[in-house]
Symmetry: C2
Subunit: 446 residues, 2 copies
């Protein structure tokens, strides 16, 4: 069944911005592969993505990092392709490719001239079920990942701070485990870990193909049948039941001190509802809340209160809502104080802004402006096919549907100031929060 | 192979206390069952225990509480015994029985007249492999466990506080999960969860039989062969590899506030080494450290500094070392302030005692006194066969050997003051600590 919807038609656009009505079509092959086609014929290019409904939160306990490790190994060979030949071929065709891993998904993408789609599908389908990896490949790539961890996490106090806060945020859910994996567990990952994960989860009935650009649904369907249609699904695919959080009843705080810290700051995250299929209202309210509190570097409430005026307390502030998750989202606030202002004072100032907001609610002009900005942002973002493809892929691997994605701009526009305040009251519960201080290590006083 | 050691002979006793030389013998049946016999012929009674090398930390993620749930279900029937008949039989013979679950083990015991050992073994061996449980049994017992959780945890702010602190202490290891299980996971436990756990882990090659009292090793061997000898071991018993902790780099704090709190207090736990087979020195130093800091309600350092004198700051204080664990132990300190002293002040006073100790080390008289007390305690405790049986069972299920248990009193006596200070310096690292405040909820000020 082909289903085609005009996206722009579904959203009530009142701005006179150059909107174009890209069409989104979705269907499923007999082996379970879900296919989403986003047509955009302005340029003869295409983005080809395969998203797997598996990520770091699906790893067996004690083996963190497999999902990301496997992402690396996917660039080793198959019966048809030598190690490294995949990316070399994409590059030789003038395209580029990459991959990324999250807690809820792993995705592979190439952007190429539209007439190379056939080749991309051939290669991507090939490595979905026929990956070859030698013990040597595994050993080499494990070193690469360990080096990546050294560079991106262990040598970066901000990253360590974030990792330790995240671990403290979740008492039970594997969202507390870093995507790249704990070092001592990465060191133990072996070929069998990666291969067994691959065999189970890399299968057409656990994948979503997203093709965006200068293509038609019929053409994508024909090519997908040709290349992906014959792949065997995984029988008895395990359901995605990850350990869920118990009630979080005790406020947590954490201090990370490191001599490499250049800029101390305070960061707090609260557990928050994620976007939920058919019920995105709270997520929409939290999206607007984040914009109101910390969305703009100049006009947001945190910035206005802390960064400007006669005696600014902060050089930077932020509010951020992450609602793209299968199980639960988070709402974060952070403040970087000006030199001479303590983290204690910065945190108190941040809390005063939040308390004030809960008391008075949003300023009507701010509220209207943010809605307009969100609408404009949505329209601008449609100009970017890659971004659209990512949007659908991320949604479909975190429990949402094509319809949820299409309805999202409407749901955002329908939020009322009262809903924002009510949701803020619910989410700003310190018992479900972790507040972290990142501090520069001082000389030992002993 | 029967191995017999005189325990008292192995420890250098310098106290003139009425020691008796109980003999410990250990051997293994062909199906893998390990057997420990502790002879004590002073009274015609016997303690019969079966310890399984499985506990709450071995549960599949998302299914917390299975080990304890199964402990309950073990009192349902077998082909030979009706539900409840096990305990009723023990009671009818004038004995008593019970069971307990930890993170590392689950154990069942009966204390009966020595001539009933045969019957105990018959019943315990029967339920090791032949447990029957109906869907109704499972449903009923799940309600019992949920009720137990309500009473012991959810209605007790101290227990919730402890549970939330423990969850914050472990970033990755399942020691952070409560033994009884998270409520939302207990609610989902089903017959298959319990049965599959039972079939895998309740087997002679995953169990230790401890018999203590008026028995001889030959008699125990004969009876064990008769009753346990024919039981099938579990093939491919999974190795006990639980997810281990990453480096803990950021000090954590936690506040639990509840209107039911009668007495606010501060409690801190540090990750600490556990007793390790063949290398119990650090654990011994920590055992003495706990005694020095908080062992005695009158003479310990925390009590002397905080509970006495002109302006006492605390009504109670404690230091406690838990080194009985397969993977990692913990060292805890807690202070209950007198009314009018804040938790902040209580914590500062507690930290001042620790800092002072690290600077000056133990007072030689205190140190000598504690060693004498530990030696006396060891000798007195040998008078309790139940306690001895538990000691061996707990040791053998947490990675120690009979020899480690026998050597422990010597290792304790060999600790030097310098080792205590060095180990304290290593363990008192706030980056690996969780400090919790339990506070009474105040009226909302809004």
């Amino acid at each position: 069944m082909l289903r085609r919807l005009g996206l722009a038609a579904a959203t009530a656009l009142t701005l006179s911005l150059p909107a174009f009505a890209e069409a989104v079509t979705d269907f499923r092959l007999a082996n379970g592969l879900e296919v989403v086609v986003i047509e955009d014929h302005r340029a003869p290019v295409v983005t080809h993505m395969v998203w797997y409904r598996v990520g770091a939160a699906d790893e067996p306990p004690g083996h963190s990092g497999i999902a990301h490790f496997l992402e690396h190994l996917m660039f080793k060979g198959t019966d048809e392709l030598k190690p490294g030949e995949f990316s070399a071929t994409v590059e030789a065709q003038g395209g580029d490719d990459n991959a990324f891993t999250s807690w809820d998904y792993t995705a592979y993408f190439q952007r190429v001239a539209a007439d190379r789609l056939d080749l991309m599908m051939k290669m991507e389908a090939d490595r979905m079920r026929d990956l070859q990896m030698s013990e040597d490949d595994v050993k080499t790539e494990r070193q690469v990942v360990l080096e990546e961890r050294s560079q991106r996490t262990d040598s970066d106090p901000d990253a360590i701070f974030g990792e330790q806060r995240r671990a403290a945020q979740y008492l039970n859910h594997p969202y507390g485990i870093p995507i790249i994996g704990w070092r001592h567990e990465i060191e133990q990952l072996d070929r069998e870990d990666a291969f067994s994960f691959y065999r189970t989860y890399y299968a057409p009935n656990n994948a979503i193909l997203v093709v965006a650009g200068d293509v038609t649904p019929d053409e994508v369907k024909r090519l997908a049948e040709t290349h992906y249609g014959a792949l065997e699904p995984t029988e008895n695919l395990p359901p995605r039941l990850r350990p869920q959080e118990p009630p979080q009843l005790a406020e947590r705080r954490l201090t990370f001190t490191d001599p490499r810290v250049a800029q101390p700051y305070v960061a707090r995250s609260y557990l928050a509802p994620a976007r939920e299929s058919g019920a995105q209202e709270k997520a929409a309210a939290l999206t607007i809340l984040a914009e109101l509190l910390g969305g703009s570097p100049t006009t947001s409430l945190l910035a206005s209160a802390l960064q400007f005026g006669e005696a600014p307390k902060a050089v930077w502030s932020q509010a951020y809502y992450d609602g793209s998750a299968l199980d639960s989202g988070s709402f974060s606030v952070a403040v970087v104080p000006v030199p001479g202002v303590s983290l204690q004072a910065a945190e108190e100032a941040m809390d005063a802004v939040i308390a004030d907001f809960l008391k008075t609610g949003p300023d009507p002009e701010d509220f209207a402006r943010i809605k307009t900005q969100l609408r404009a942002h949505d329209i601008y973002s449609r100009d970017n096919v890659d971004g659209l493809a990512r949007r659908y892929g991320a949604a479909l691997t975190t429990g949402l549907t094509v319809e949820d994605v299409e309805r999202w701009p409407e749901v955002l526009q329908a939020v009322t100031p009262e809903e924002v305040v009510a949701t803020a009251r619910e989410v700003f519960d310190r018992r479900r929060a972790v507040t972290g201080w990142l501090e520069q290590e001082e000389e030992e006083s002993q």
